[in-house]
Amino acid sequence: MNQSLIDYTLHLADNALIIGHRNSEWCGHGPVLEQDIAISNIALDFIGQARNFYQYASELSGNNTTEDSLAFLRDVSEFKNVLITELPNGDWAQTTLRQFLFSTYQYYFYQQLQNSTDTRLAAIAAKSLKEVTYHLRWSSEWVIRLGDGTEESKQRLLTAVDELWNFTGELFLPAGYETALLQENMGVDLSIIRQQWNQKVQEVFAEATIQIPEKSWAQQGGKTGIHTEHLGYILAEMQFLQRAYPGAEW
């Protein structure tokens, strides 16, 4: 059980760290100052959530594991984030759509996780849920604005839907550690989240005047360490300093 709990916690930490890192790439490049600040704030919330999960995972792991060693000294195959978080940002439509699809998932996920019998996971979830509520509202508004906007913005959103859709199914396909934790009432039931997610996405897409794609094939692997080529580049950038100068601090 302990290993499943560690893997589960790492999976949540890695999701938050990697999408947080992607969002932070917009810092200084946002389309307007207010939105640059918004996505940087969202990135910061994610890094905070990641730290809370990593701290817990390091306590469970023991052996001098720290939140930093988990973030900076594991390689690609040890990361358990879902693939959608590591995909490149693309344009503003792709970034905000990814945020919407992921925040919807996270919103219902944390809602359930705050009732976990594991009090630490429950506390992190309750704390994070307040932040995700703002993320979901912000990203829903962007999807609606772009979809129901100009011909150009709609086209960009449709392209983004096409790019990202195959990566949404993985969110709801449980890895072994998720099934194990659900049986112990510590983890969440992804089949319930899938229904809630479908309904919310349908509502927002309808308002954005776009269709849910019919294709249902799901690209998967991230939860068990099989990643796209993109994650290696993120880690190369993120981990460079600790790899080149082990133990460096400032």
């Binding site: 704030n41 905070g48 959530q49 009090t119 307040k130 509520t133 703002y134």
Partner: protein, 175 residues
């Protein structure tokens, strides 16, 4: 009806007084007590009869970078007062809410030019394009203001503008 009176020892009172001197590095008019992030103060007796304060604080937002600075400043304040050992713990549950901000804190925020959180907690829902909360301009007191962005200069603030005096201002948003 019985009224439970919580007695605070003089030693503990001294710790609370010290905490009153520690301010938020990003909103320096607020003490950490105004913010409502100190959850508990305990005193442990050490073998050499000295007291070791154990302070539990809770973060406002998960990624708030001020938390590390606040922990350090608490440590400094206690060291300066002569305490040699101390422990500063973080607790996530129950999650911090702007409801815990003191009335005094809200008044100080407004005087500083930041609109304080609403007295009645606004319902924070993920619904898109919902009606905005009416927020009073801290400069000219007009209620004719508009939301610019839910995300502002720090994690805890939203950006507003006043339609009357035309000044932009920060709003310490409900959480």
């Amino acid at each position: 009806m019985t009224i439970a009176i919580q007695h605070i020892s003089p030693e503990e009172k001294e710790i609370w007084n010290l905490l009153e001197t520690v301010t938020d590095p990003e909103v320096p008019v607020l003490t950490i007590l105004d913010l409502g992030i100190v959850r508990s103060v305990e005193l442990a007796q050490l073998d050499n009869h000295q007291l070791k304060p154990i302070i539990t604080i809770t973060p406002t937002y998960s990624g708030c970078p001020a938390m590390d600075v606040i922990s350090m400043n608490i440590r400094m304040a206690l060291l300066q007062a002569g305490y040699q050992q101390m422990e500063i713990k973080q607790a996530l549950s129950p999650a911090w809410t702007t409801d815990w901000m003191s009335e005094e804190g809200k008044n100080k925020l407004k005087a500083y030019g930041i609109a304080p959180p609403q007295y009645k907690q606004a319902v924070c829902t993920p619904e898109a394009f919902q009606d905005e909360e009416a927020i009073q301009c801290p400069q000219c007191n007009s209620w004719n203001t508009a939301l610019v962005s839910q995300f502002g200069s720090t994690a805890c603030k939203a950006l507003y503008k006043c339609n009357d005096c035309k000044e932009p201002f920060d709003y310490f948003k409900c959480h």
